[in-house]
């Protein structure tokens, strides 16, 4: 059989000797193509594609792990002044509903501090 070739290929350049040898070799019988050749090729192609997909998946997992590590390290580092201020602001916002209770508690504590119980612990009033 002839394979594909361009104008400078075998047909254009072969000597008479080469053509004769090629024709003689063509008459030589080769083993027939086994039945499962096409299936074997397809199976190998699928396996190669799976290997590529697996490699891509592993790369994605590795990237995700690296991002998580970097994010963790970022969180664990010392906070900046701006972050401190932002946190204080958020904290004040979260605690604002309890302001009235804090004030009441503070008033009560101040009232206790104003009392003089001396050294007699038993004189401490029960709460």
């Amino acid at each position: 059989m002839k394979t594909t070739m361009d104008a400078t290929g075998f047909e254009a350049t072969a000597t008479a000797e080469e053509r004769a040898l090629a024709r003689a070799l063509e008459a030589c019988k080769l083993p027939a193509m086994p039945v499962g050749t096409i299936e074997g090729i397809e199976r190998r192609v699928r396996a190669r594609r799976m290997r590529v997909l697996r490699a891509m998946w592993m790369s994605a997992v590795a990237v995700a792990a690296a991002v998580a590590l970097v994010a963790g390290a970022w969180r664990m580092r010392s906070p900046t002044v701006a972050e401190d201020a932002a946190f204080a602001e958020a904290e004040a916002e979260w605690l604002s509903p309890y302001d009235a209770e804090f004030e009441e508690l503070e008033t009560t504590l101040l009232a206790f501090e104003a009392l003089d119980f001396g050294s007699d612990a038993t004189a401490f009033p029960s709460l």
Binding site: K2, T8, A24, P31, M33, I41, A47
Partner: protein, 197 residues
């Protein structure tokens, strides 16, 4: 079998696209069968046994089909034979067997004065083909591969040089050495032809 290179190029490209774009399995079967003889013949001469050649044949196609974008344009044969060559060389390196291209010593050859075979006078019998194949099997690796790429693959010498990664002159020299050794080994066949002439 079609002998028009342009037609074959068109058929190769059409089948390649039909398989990759539309998943037509029949297109793959046509492609594989079209290249069965040249590609398997080449691999058989390199490997020396049919089992290894079949394994390499399937792996060559698997590598080719797994990278559809690497086939840019016809002709397909040089691209396919390059994949096969690289596969065989990798395998030789892994198994520490003889690496055909590592053989650089061409050695002394006795050039038979048998002249050349005329295509119209040579009877291409199976027996003669088998004698030639046996003589080819005795050639040093690099010469054997050059001969096979030329005869089985029907490649141009420039394409063979690209595949083997060597200068054109080296390929031409290898082919000349191979032919000279074949003339010596097949002297009886060559002289038969001379008598017929």
């Amino acid at each position: 079998m079609d002998t028009n290179p342009e037609k074959e190029n068109t058929a190769d490209l059409a089948d390649w696209q039909a398989y990759h774009r539309r998943g037509e399995r029949e297109a793959l079967v046509r492609l594989v069968e079209r290249y069965r003889r040249p590609l398997f013949g080449y691999l058989l001469r390199l490997a020396g046994d049919a089992g290894t050649a079949e394994d390499w044949f399937q792996e060559t196609w698997a590598r080719a089909l797994a990278r559809p974008r690497s086939f840019v344009r016809p002709p397909m044969a040089p691209w396919l034979f390059r994949i096969a060559h690289n596969l065989a060389m990798d395998s030789f390196r892994r198994s520490r067997r003889e690496v055909p291209l590592a053989q650089t010593a061409e050695g002394e050859v006795t050039v038979a004065d048998a002249g050349t075979l005329a295509p119209d006078r040579l009877v291409a019998s199976r027996e003669l083909g088998e004698r030639i194949a046996a003589a080819v099997a005795e050639l040093p690796g690099a010469q054997r591969e050059t001969f096979s790429l030329r005869m089985d693959g029907r490649l141009a010498f420039r394409e063979i040089a690209d595949i083997q990664g060597c200068p054109l002159g080296t390929v031409l020299a290898r082919m000349q050495y191979a032919l000279a050794k074949l003339r010596a080994a097949l002297a009886a066949d060559y002289s038969d032809w001379k008598e017929m002439r």
